[in-house]
Structure formats: C-alpha cells, structure tokens
C-alpha cells in the first residue's frame, strides 16, 4: 500500500523536477544568457569587429569570478582568512604558460580547451604542498602562514629565472593549433567563450561541493571546530581538503589568465592579487555562495573603467571596503538578503520612499568626496604627470580654493543631510520589522 503510494508520487516529482530546476535556478540561466550576449551588445557595427576593451573586461570578469569563488571556499565556507591566495592563481598561470610553450614546441599534445585544467592541477599540487603546512593552524596563525607563503613565493618569483622568468615573466602563445573544435583561439572572442565554459563548469563544481559532506564539514569547522572534533572529524584534515580544492579552482582561473594575456608575471602571485581576492569576496559578501560573483564583477568594473578615468581608483575601492566592513559585514549579498523578510511580507513599498530620499544627499556626498580626492590627486600625482583636470569640458585648476570649497561643502552638507535621512530610514525599518514580528506572533 505504502509502496504503491510512493511510486505514484515519485513520477510527478521527477517530472516536476526538471521544471523546478529551471524555476529555482533562473537567475543563473539568465546570467549565463547575458554573459553570452554581452559581447554582441558591445559589438562595434561601424567597423564590424568586437570591442577589444569590452571583451577584455568580460574575460577578466570570468576568471576573477572563479578566483573570488575559490577564495570564498576558504574564507566563507571554511572560515579561513588567507593573505596568499594569489599564489595558486599565479602558479597555475605559470604552469599553463610552460605547458603551452611545450605544446607549441611539440613536446606534448593537449587540446587548448583542456589547458586551463593543467593550470588547475598545478594549483592543486602547490596547494597540497603549502596546505600541508598552513592548515595545521587555524584563525590568525593560518592567516600569518599564508601571508608568509605569499611573500615567499613572490620573492622566489623574482629570484628564480628558469621557472618564473624573473621580472619579465613567462610569455607564451595560445595559438598552438590543437583544438577539439578546429578553432585557433587567435581572436580574443573565442577565448572569451572558452572562459565562459570554464566559468560555468567551475561555478557548478564549487556549488556542488558545498552540498557534499566535505562542504558541510567545512561549515561545521568554521562555526564550531571543537564540536566538529567531538563528532569525530579532524578539522585540520577538513581544512586541508578544502584548501587543496580551493587551490585547484584558483589554478584554473590562473590558467585562463595565461591563455588570455599570453604572459604571466610575478604580480600574479604577489600580495596585490591576494588582496584583490579578499576585496572581491568581502565586498560581494562572504555569507552567500553568489556574493563573490557580484564582488568580482563590481571590482573588475571599477578596475577597468574607473582606472581609466582616475588615478585614485584604489582609494575608492579602499573606502568602499572600509564602509562595507564597518556597516555591512555581510557584503552586497548580505544587504540584499537583509530585505528578504520584508519583501516576502510585501512591505518593500514602505521603505521605498525613505530610500529614495537618501539618493539626493548620497549623491552629494559621493560627488563631494570624489571631487576632493581628485583635486588632491591632481595637485600632486597629476601635476607630476603633466595632466590637467577636465570636468564636463571645463578645465579646473586644483590650486584655486573655489573647487575645494565646493567639494567640502557638498561632503559636509550632504553628510549631515544623509545622516538625518539615515535616521528616518532606520525608523521606517524598525517600524516595518515590528509589524512583521507582530503579524508572525498573531495566531
């Protein structure tokens, strides 16, 4: 009786599952569709060719998404703060570059499509070696060891010429003529689509990994490693496996880097790149799986767009990071998730007006701050580079006090106004939350 019931119930479940999968994962499908279509939206129809800048930026996004997600495997999923994650990214890149050179020389045969996998294996191998050392410790000691390893590898990269190529790095050529689909990967758009494929594979694998016992135990060791020990797991071994796999994915990202830029230099293993992983992951949000993706996209946008406009884009990234740490430790994804209970109860409309009122002063503060920073930067760095500050067609003299006064006024006045509006938002927020609680308590 019960068995037949199960059987009849099972069939509609499997049928509904395919539809449910699409319904549940529609944001991913939509994101993939956008990623596939974007190069054609940026296509330069007048000259009938792809926008080099656009494709380069999108490719960078792809590999940085893998890199940030692999970092989050340590930071978000296992609670391990690393300052040397770029080591596996860079070493994966070096392995890939050497492999491409070997293939080109005819010493080995491997289709180009699978070359990033070798980067991943290189990252894995080094992550096993370094992970064996680092994962014996946790928390701050782990962070310090990874910092040491990062500095160690960076110094080695400048010292040993045969593997790292010294300061010049290792250059390579991705057109090696071994492809499963007959592509030569000369145009960067072909590499971009290869990056998409690898990004999708890596995202899916990392997502599945969170569902495995290893992923769950990593969470457990992060939250309460003593209790995980009582249950019978060895936290340092869980850390080791998580660390090694995270190195594997970082290596894949490094392999894609080598394919895209055809040169790997020491700054792929250096502290700046590790800091990049940290910034992307934290600004995006460590608490959710998709947070680092958002962070990677945002940081690459800042890196490639704002760095064209301004010398001081790193200041903006730093300030954004500080603001995030102080006011929104959950990152962007955390901010979005905060609104979930309110959206579910259909009360988002109540917050719309207070939020909209914040837009004006927020804009003032942002403009004032950017103006002051740019003035400051043009006074010193810009002057030494012989640049002039041009805003909306008008040349601004950073030596005259007028723009400084305007900037300061906007910043201070806007700040005070923003503070007042912020209190209103908080009041509205508290009122809505109270209502939801009251509604939930009502029988």
């Amino acid at each position: 009786m019960s068995e037949s019931l199960l059987h009849t119930a099972a069939r509609p479940v499997t049928a509904a599952r395919a539809g449910g999968l699409l319904r549940r994962h529609w944001p991913w499908v939509a994101a993939l569709a956008i990623a596939l279509a974007l190069p054609w939206l940026l296509y330069d129809w007048t000259r009938a060719r792809h926008s080099g800048f656009g494709v380069a930026m999108l490719s960078q996004m792809g590999m940085m998404i893998i890199f940030a997600l692999s970092y989050n495997m340590q930071m978000g999923h296992a609670g391990l703060l690393s300052f040397g994650h770029a080591v596996f990214f860079g070493l994966g890149g070096y392995c890939t570059a050497h492999l491409l050179n070997t293939i080109k020389a005819g010493g080995f045969w491997l289709p180009v499509e699978l070359v990033p996998l070798v980067g991943g294996l290189g990252g894995l191998a080094f992550a096993i070696v370094f992970g064996y050392i680092a994962t014996k410790q946790r928390a701050t000691a782990f962070a310090m060891i990874t910092l040491g390893i990062g500095e160690l590898v960076t110094s080695c990269a400048l010292m040993f010429k045969s593997f790292f190529g010294g300061e010049g790095g290792v250059s390579t050529n991705r057109v090696v003529g071994t492809s499963l689909f007959g592509l030569n990967y000369g145009p960067s758009i072909q590499v971009y689509y290869l990056i998409i494929v690898w990004t999708v594979i890596a995202i899916a694998l990392m997502r599945l990994l969170t569902e495995t016992p290893l992923g769950r135990m990593a969470n457990a060791c992060r939250d309460n490693f003593e209790r995980a020990q009582f249950v019978g797991y060895d936290p340092s071994r869980v850390r080791f496996f998580q660390f090694a796999l995270s190195g594997f994915f970082a290596g894949i990202a490094g392999g894609l880097y080598a394919l895209t830029y055809e040169i790997v230099t020491f700054d792929t293993v250096a502290g700046g790149m590790s800091a990049n992983a940290l910034l992307m992951t934290f600004i995006g949000g460590v608490g959710t799986f998709a947070g680092p993706i958002v962070g990677a996209i945002l940081i690459v946008l800042l890196q490639s767009w704002v760095s064209l406009l301004s010398n001081s884009w790193l200041v903006y990234v730093g300030v954004l990071f500080i603001l995030m740490v102080t006011f929104a430790p959950g990152g962007i994804a955390g901010l979005v998730l905060m609104h979930q209970p309110i959206a579910r109860s259909g009360r988002m409309g109540r917050l719309a007006a207070p939020y909209a009122r914040m837009a004006g002063p927020g804009l003032f503060v942002a403009v004032g701050f950017v103006l002051l920073i740019e003035l400051c930067s043009f006074l010193t760095i810009g002057a030494s580079q012989g640049k002039t500050f041009v805003l909306a067609g008008a040349t601004i003299d950073p030596k005259s006090p007028v723009p400084w006064a305007i900037g300061a006024l906007l910043l201070v006045g806007g700040g005070l106004w923003l503070w007042r509006e912020g209190r209103r938002v908080r009041a509205a927020w508290d009122a809505v939350m109270e209502e939801i609680k009251a509604a939930a308590a009502r029988p």
Binding site: L81, T140, I145, C156, V317, G318, I322, V325, I381
Partner: protein, 315 residues
Amino acid sequence: MEVLLVSLLNGLVYGMLLFMLASGLTLIFSMMGVLNFAHASVYMLGAYFAYDISRHVGFWPALVLAPVLCGAVGALIEMYGLRRVHRNGHIAELLFTFGLAFIIDKAVQMAWGLLPVAYRVPAVLDRPLFTIYGTNFHAYRGFMLLISALMFCAIWLMLTRTRLGLVIQAALTHPEMVGALGHNVPRVFTTVFAGGSALAGLAGVIGGNYLVTEPSMAFTMGPIVFVVVVFGGLGSLAGCFIASLIMGFVQTFAVVFDVSLANVLALVGIKVTEASWFGEVLTIPLPRIGALLPYVMLVLILLFKPRGLMGTRDT
C-alpha cells in the same frame, strides 16, 4: 672580524628600529587580538610628518611632534573605527585595519607624491662618530641606538613600575576581570593603541631618514614587523625584543656572507653547478635570498612552535 663587528653594530641598529615598531604592535595584538595591518602605515605617516615638520621648524621639534600626531591618529582609529567594528568580530577588525592600510598608502601618495622625498639626517648628526677597523660608524646610527634604548627603558619602566602599566599588563590576559575591578578597559585599549601608534611614528621619524621615505616603505616594512611579532610570541615584550634583534642580525648578515648551498655541499664533497638538478636554487648566493629569510623563519616557527619564542598563548 672587521666585517663581523660592523655588521653586528648595523644589525643592532636595525633590530632596535624593528623593536620600536614591533613593541607597539605586539602590545596591541596581545591585548585586543587584532593584528594591526595599518601599523606600518602609521610608521610611514610618522616619517612623512617628520619630513614636513623638519622642513619648517627643524628636526628636533619633529622628533616630538610627529610621534604625538601619530599617537593622535592611532587614538582616532581606535575610538571611531575599531571600536565600532568590534561587534562584527575579530576578522572584521583585522579587515578594517587592512582597508585602512590601503587608504593611508594611497593618501600618502596623493599628499606627497609617488617619488621618495628628501628627508635628511640633521646636519649635527651627519658625521662619523668613531672609526673601527677603518670603517666609519655614523653618528646618526649612534643616535638611533640611543633613542631606541631610551625608549626601551621607558616602556619597561612604564609597564612594570606604574599603575597604568600594571593595568595594561592585567588587561593583556584578563580584560573582563580588569573591567570588573572598575578600570575603564576601553580607555586602556585606546591608550595602548595610541601609544603603539606613537612608537611607530617615532620609528618613522628616526627610520625615515636612515632608510628611504617613500610611499612603498610601509609595504616593505609591514610584513617584516609581523614576522617579528609572531616570531617573538604573543604577550611577551621580551620575546619581541629578542626576535627584533635576531631579525636585525639575520637581515644584515645575509647581505655580508656571499655563500650558497652549493658551497656548503662542496664541503661534504658534493659538486653542484647551475646545470645540475635544482642547480639554480642551490647556487643562488645568500645576499640574494636575504629578503626571503624572514618568511622562512615565520613559516617554520608557526609550524613547530605556534606560540613563538616566548609567547604565553597561541597566535
């Protein structure tokens, strides 16, 4: 012998400079559990403040004013930054100082430019103090030694002989108990943070013209100071002192001895050339891998003795 003595003196000067930076950091680290990434940035600020002050009113006022300014910066960071972030946990605090280091670095670049500034040793001290084996010992190095020795004595006396020092020592290990006894622990934290920052600023004042005052000086000094603090062990000023001196000697002696692993192997009868297996690693001379040694030390000590040389608890 001659080389040995001169290197010993130079190592001592460098080690004492490191200690000035590391002592503040280790106090902050052991008391608040926060690894302050911005510490080396405050050191850089100290050097730049001193450069600006010494341009206008001279070096001697700068010696006092710049550390005071740095102490004020430290107090502001603690009161309006770290204390706010504290409720988000230790990782958030660490990341806060990390972001702060980022911003201070960029701010220094914007305020003083990308190139090194001409922050010079004062003319009075810009002469040889004495000569050993034909090598001049610069008077400014003697001055640095004097300042750091004075500072070491002052900290030591302050921590062991004064009431504030005793409260600080107690708060290092039992902050709740100290709070329960009626002491204002947050204020003690602020004091320590400001004091540590002032020490870093002082190190910047006397180190900035001994080394080079440039925007990357925080980045080159920061990791080494971390190594010293971790190597010496948490909660131990004596361990920090020994670790600073070791690091000073390691860094100066590494430059002097032109040997490589191949030379060592040759003593036991194994011949290694550039062409043999790992030849490049084995034949590289010590001065070239000198920059690497601190990190090897860091990884090794954390691996085998996570408490550091004289630490009282795990890192």
